[in-house]
């Protein structure tokens, strides 16, 4: 019954209490009434159900992308100014302006422009950058810059998960203790302090005052490093240029810490609330009554259940990472997608903005699809009903 059984559990930062559990069960009942739900034969329909669900979600992805592309197209062109002013400046002659407008095809009606854009986009041609890297195809700009952002976001997310989940567990088990209070305060600061401010602060303290970490860039300029994939850490590891890999990693640290604060805070708070909820459950008492070791009770019985809402949240944090990257890349001068976005807006580079925003939106939707599938893998109630 997986097709209609996989249900997104929307989770606010508060403790997932009875209300949410009730909500989830209600959704189950609703979804059970939808056509396509096979009842009574959970084992045989499980896989095809998940497959059907995935296909449907991919269809949704297509619709989201098309709608977003229309909105984005009109919205960018509604902004004051435009690439012509950005390129030629205020004192350009009418003649040169007209020539450029014609060259860029901006004299045609919007729907014609959109139609042409769509046709080319389907072949992977998103036009040529006018402002970020003038003359370079926008797709190429995207592909060049994507690894930097991905590297940064993945490390930031890893940090947030690797610190947030264990700390959330420990804080919950020692509720009201010093560790609990300290990490709650810390996570509050993490959410409350703007990312760019924290980024500047980190940079000032660790790069400038103490000089222990590099202040900007992705790798030391003089370093003779091979870049095969564009992921600098990975490149160094693949080519066995250990110092290059280490250098790139060290460059990533400060921006990744700055970027990870909000996802860390959210993951930590939710893990803590969720663990507090789960340790009160009867099945944890049952597990203890069986005399199972502390490790089994913790891993199999507490964390496995407590992780359910956290998994969903991790997917939603992709959004925070992508928007945070804009600010972090700016502060640490990293030539990634975030920087391309802010440059693109300054210079009204329609082509680059369109490809970057559409691609990030698709990534967001895809990541959340993966998260939902992971959720179904952990929670059998969503697979079979």
């Amino acid at each position: 019954m997986g097709a209609t059984g996989v249900v997104r559990r929307t989770v606010a930062a508060g403790p997932p209490g009875d209300a949410q559990r009730g909500e989830r069960e209600r959704k189950h009942r609703l979804s059970g009434a939808l056509p396509g739900g096979a009842h009574g034969f959970p084992q045989t329909t499980e896989d095809s159900g998940l497959l059907r669900y995935t296909v449907r979600r991919l269809g949704q992805l297509l619709i989201v992308t098309v709608v977003l592309s229309v909105l984005l197209f009109g919205w960018l062109r509604a902004l004051p100014g435009g690439p012509v002013s950005a390129l030629l400046g205020e004192r350009a002659t009418e003649e040169s302006r007209a020539r450029l407008v014609e060259q860029l095809g901006l004299d045609q009606p919007l729907y014609v422009q959109y139609w042409k854009f769509l046709g080319r986009a389907l072949t992977g041609d998103f036009g040529v950058s006018t402002g970020v890297q003038p003359g370079t195809p926008a797709m190429e700009v995207f592909l060049q810059r994507m690894p930097a952002t991905l590297e940064l976001s993945v490390l930031a997310l890893l940090l947030a998960v690797a610190v947030g989940i264990p700390l959330g567990y420990l804080a919950a088990r020692r509720q009201g203790g010093w560790l609990d209070n300290l990490s709650i305060t810390w996570s509050l600061i993490g959410v409350a302090v703007p990312v760019f401010f924290l980024a500047f602060l980190l940079k000032y303290v660790f790069a400038i005052e103490f000089g222990v970490l590099p202040a900007s860039g992705r790798q030391e300029a003089g370093l003779d490093a091979t870049h095969a994939t564009g992921f600098y850490v990975l490149d160094g590891l693949l080519t066995r240029e250990w110092d290059a890999a280490w250098n790139a990693f060290v460059h990533l640290l400060l921006p990744a810490v700055a970027l990870s604060t909000i996802p860390f805070a959210v993951i930590f708070r939710l893990t803590r609330a969720s663990v507090l909820d789960v340790v009160e459950e009867d099945y944890v008492r049952t597990a203890r009554s069986k005399g199972l070791g502390a490790m089994v009770v913790r891993g199999r019985h507490i964390l496995r259940n407590a992780m359910l809402p956290v998994v969903t949240t991790i997917g939603l944090q992709t959004g925070a990472l992508l928007s945070g990257a804009v600010l972090t890349e700016q502060v640490f001068n990293i030539a990634g997608l975030g920087q391309a976005l802010s440059l693109g807006f300054q210079r009204q580079d329609y082509a680059v903005l369109q490809v970057v925003i559409l691609a990030t939106a698709m990534v967001y939707v895809l990541v959340n699809l993966l998260v939902d599938l992971a959720y179904a893998a952990i929670d059998p109630r969503l697979r079979t009903r």
Partner: protein
């Protein structure tokens, strides 16, 4: 020698900024191998807390446990958590009230049974799985091998409780504690689960502590019955004696409030007046006296002691129901 000797067990919940609550107040009882002892009383009388104290499952913070509970001569109450984990599940098994919430929703039933076997009997994963299937078969779950891979939401209420019983009995414990094992089940399933418990206990000579508020369960299961009120035992008797002539007004009230097939038609049930909220602390007198129809002046001044009557049962009452009288019933 008794298998389990509970002596003067007290449990107090200490909360900051709140008065200390005495949930269990000096309870003593014995459980002999192969016998079934009932702990009976209404919600909040301390019966579940007693069992959780014996199992070491009370929260460590804010709980004061005193007294003694010896299993086969060795003290349980002063075990560390790790020492307890070596004995729980192995020497004492426990079946809980609500089988739906007592099973882990995201772990297959088979794993939840075999984990306890692996832990205490040192069997390999494969052997433990085979043993788990055997246990499921033993508690009457059809097609056990398939059920091993299923989750609690795929089982019916009765099957869930059977699975929990299989878990509790997986290591053939000498003592089984069943805390209201049938409360959350349909009536027809209740009867099945009770007869299963009775059968298993008789077969393996396991001692059973039956915690319940249901006198029907007591009548069907228990050899000896302890009636609890406000954390103390107010009456202890063999099942037959207790039902034929309850001495404590509270016990008598409990029995009068249960419908009986042999009572005349149209006769109203007689509930016990008031609620536990009316209790007075034992330090000031008998906790039950504000609700008691037999209360004398002395009842509100001095708490009665648990004393042995001429008939050999134990009673905590200044003015018990007359032994020759039949159970009082309210007539309209």
């Amino acid at each position: 020698m008794a298998l389990l000797e509970v002596r003067d067990l007290s449990v107090r919940f200490v909360r900051r900024h709140e008065p200390t609550v005495s949930a269990v107040d000096g309870i003593s009882f014995d459980v002999h191998p192969g016998s079934t002892v009932g702990l009976v009383g209404e919600s909040g009388c301390g019966k579940s807390v007693t069992s959780l104290a014996i199992m070491g499952l009370l929260p460590q913070r804010g709980t004061e446990v005193s007294g003694s509970a010896k299993l086969a001569g060795s003290e349980l109450l002063r075990l560390s958590r790790r020492e307890f984990d070596r004995r729980r599940g192995k020497e004492i098994g426990m079946v809980f009230q609500d089988p739906l919430t007592s099973l882990n929703p995201v772990v297959p039933i088979g794993v939840q049974i075999s984990e306890v076997i692996e832990r205490h009997r040192g069997l390999s994963r494969r052997d433990a799985k085979r043993e788990a299937a055997r246990l499921l078969d033993r508690v009457g779950i059809p097609d056990p091998t398939r059920r091993l891979g299923e989750y609690s939401h795929q089982l019916s209420g009765g099957m869930r409780q059977r699975a929990l019983i299989a878990m509790a009995l997986a290591c053939e414990p000498r003592l089984l504690i069943a805390d209201e094992p049938t409360t959350a089940l349909d009536v027809t399933i209740q009867a099945q689960i009770l007869s299963l418990l009775r059968e298993l206990v008789a077969e393996t000579d396991t001692a059973l502590i039956m915690i319940t508020h249901d006198l029907g369960v007591v009548a069907g299961m228990c050899d000896e019955v302890n009636v609890l009120y406000a954390g103390r035992i107010v009456e202890r008797a063999q099942r037959h004696e207790l039902f034929s002539r309850p001495r404590h007004p509270y016990t008598a009230g409990l029995m009068a409030s249960v419908p009986r097939l042999d009572s005349p038609r149209g006769q109203r049930l007689a509930p016990i007046d008031g609620s536990v909220a009316d209790n007075i602390p034992w330090e000031r007198g008998c906790a039950f006296s504000p609700r008691c129809g037999n209360a004398l002046a002395v009842c509100g001044q001095r708490a009665p002691e648990l004393e042995t009557t001429d008939a050999g049962e134990q009673l905590r009452c200044h003015n018990p129901v007359d032994a020759t009288e039949t159970v009082e019933r309210a007539d309209d």
